[in-house]
């Protein structure tokens, strides 16, 4: 029966009914803190149990545990800070014990924060611990340096969902768990992606699927870099792949609303914990998972798992697949003995360039049905 949620129970801080109405009324009078789109997804993920066992934005003791020991005060593994930054002006007059309203950029009241602690932090130390560098060219570090001066921690309540144009693909962990059970799946492998699928991805997924009951494809939807595939393109491309190349009843696809931290190894653990909460028993970790530039070794995000014997989800480590002319198929270095001259690697950049020119990549790189779906967009990439 699926995986146990991280910490033993799924958090649910979504308020409904009469209590919601009362709290919404109360919120009008409170100090307001505006959450940008990414921070709003953190709020939703906490409330919906995606980040179980977190019940709010981290207080200092939690943050320190995460930064220095990669664990929460309860000893549970946790590697990425989930914090809310504020300026002194924004929070002036607010004291520990007060409630504040969390609002979206368009002014919608999203929820409440029960302020437990307002505290300062050292950005350079934060960056060094999470990203293993203080280099401001690293996108995660740059983002850390741009954060406001103070952090505010405490439990949250969700009153309104932020705008979500992918409602059809949005499931909470309680829902995926029921779904997996209804399908009769006992073992489920989670796949993290922020790309339209080429055959390298498909072979990794299918190799894993050969040993478990179901595959959970969980594209990360949210802020991306220029030149990345648009969210709607990724979803449509996967629909085409699943429809044409996967056995019926072997795949579920739902989105993960969050943002890339580019924290490499630490983020791989974070991604695994999230999929554990969704009910996965296994999680695929490939080459340079959640990496950027050359900040992390190609398999560092796999090695870090040896520090967490109590993670509660089994990582499946993969080497990259490529096409080998001598083998006459798609293989990886674990199963192909041939030299580089026979190998054609799946270059994301090359595939993107072909699609940009309106060309179908060769069918040993990308399924024609997938390429055709992508080519329906005038520009399938983030501008």
């Amino acid at each position: 029966m699926t995986s146990r949620p991280h910490g033993g129970r799924l958090i649910n801080r979504v308020v409904s009914g009469r209590r919601r109405e009362l709290l919404l009324e109360e919120a009008k009078e409170l100090t307001k803190i505006t959450l940008n789109r990414d921070w709003a997804t953190d709020l939703v993920n906490i409330a919906g149990g995606v980040f179980s066992p977190l019940e709010g934005f981290m207080v200092q003791e939690e943050l320190m545990g995460v930064l220095y020991d990669m664990r929460l005060p309860s000893d549970l593994p946790w590697t990425i800070p989930i914090v809310l930054d504020v300026s002194p002006e924004e929070i002036s007059g607010v004291e520990e014990g007060d409630d504040v309203a969390l609002v979206s950029e368009s002014g919608l009241i999203l929820g409440l924060l029960h302020v437990e602690e307002i505290y300062g932090y050292d950005k350079k130390e934060f960056a060094e611990r999470v990203f293993k560098t203080r280099d401001a060219n690293h996108p995660g570090v740059a983002r850390t340096y741009a954060m406001k001066e103070l952090l505010v921690g405490g439990k949250i309540d969700l009153l309104n969902e932020p705008e979500n144009k992918f409602y059809k693909y949005t499931l909470y962990p309680a829902e995926t768990r029921v779904l997996f059970r209804e399908k009769g799946w006992r073992t489920i492998v989670g796949f993290q992606t922020r790309n339209a699928p080429h055959l390298g991805h498909e072979y990794i997924q299918k190799t894993a699927l050969a040993f478990v009951d179901g595959l959970f494809i969980n594209p990360l939807i949210g802020k991306k870099k220029k030149g990345d595939f648009k969210d709607e393109v990724i979803l449509a491309a996967y629909e085409a792949l699943i429809k044409n190349y996967y056995p019926k009843n072997s795949v579920v696809m739902a989105i993960l609303r969050t943002w890339m931290r580019y924290a490499g190894p630490r983020e791989a653990i974070f991604h695994a914990i999230i999929r554990k909460n969704f009910g996965c028993t296994h999680f695929i970790v490939g080459r340079d998972h959640a990496g950027v530039g050359n900040y992390y070794g190609p398999y560092e995000a796999q090695e870090i798992f040896s520090e967490f014997p109590d993670l509660g989800i089994t990582p499946l480590f993969f080497r990259e697949f490529f096409y080998c002319k001598k083998c006459g198929g798609i293989v990886n270095e674990r199963i192909c003995p041939h030299s580089q001259e026979y190998r054609i690697v799946f270059s994301g950049t090359k595939i993107r360039e072909m699609l940009m020119r309106g060309e179908r990549p060769p069918d040993y790189m990308m399924r024609p049905e997938v390429a055709d779906v992508i080519l329906k967009w005038d520009n399938p990439f983030v501008e």
């Binding site: 545990g65 020991d69 000893d75 059809k168 309680a174 029921v178 779904l179 209804e182 109590d310």
Partner: protein, 85 residues
Amino acid sequence: MPVDEEVSEKKLSRRKFTTVSIPITLYNRIKNLIQGTGFTSVSDYVTYVLREVVAMHEAERSEEPFTPEDVERIKEKLRALGYLD
């Protein structure tokens, strides 16, 4: 007890420690076992092994906290979204 134990703990750690007694024979056995491995102290090893075992025992105890009504409501949404027939 040996004093070289916690010296090897990562200096950056903010973790607080407490003492648990184990037989000295077991201590020596572990000390021999971990030579040349990634474990830098008996405490490191014991912590690792205990976490593994404790997590396993915790997992055996967990139950899904859904009431039958929750399940019905969720199944309805899953059908509406096309995830279930």
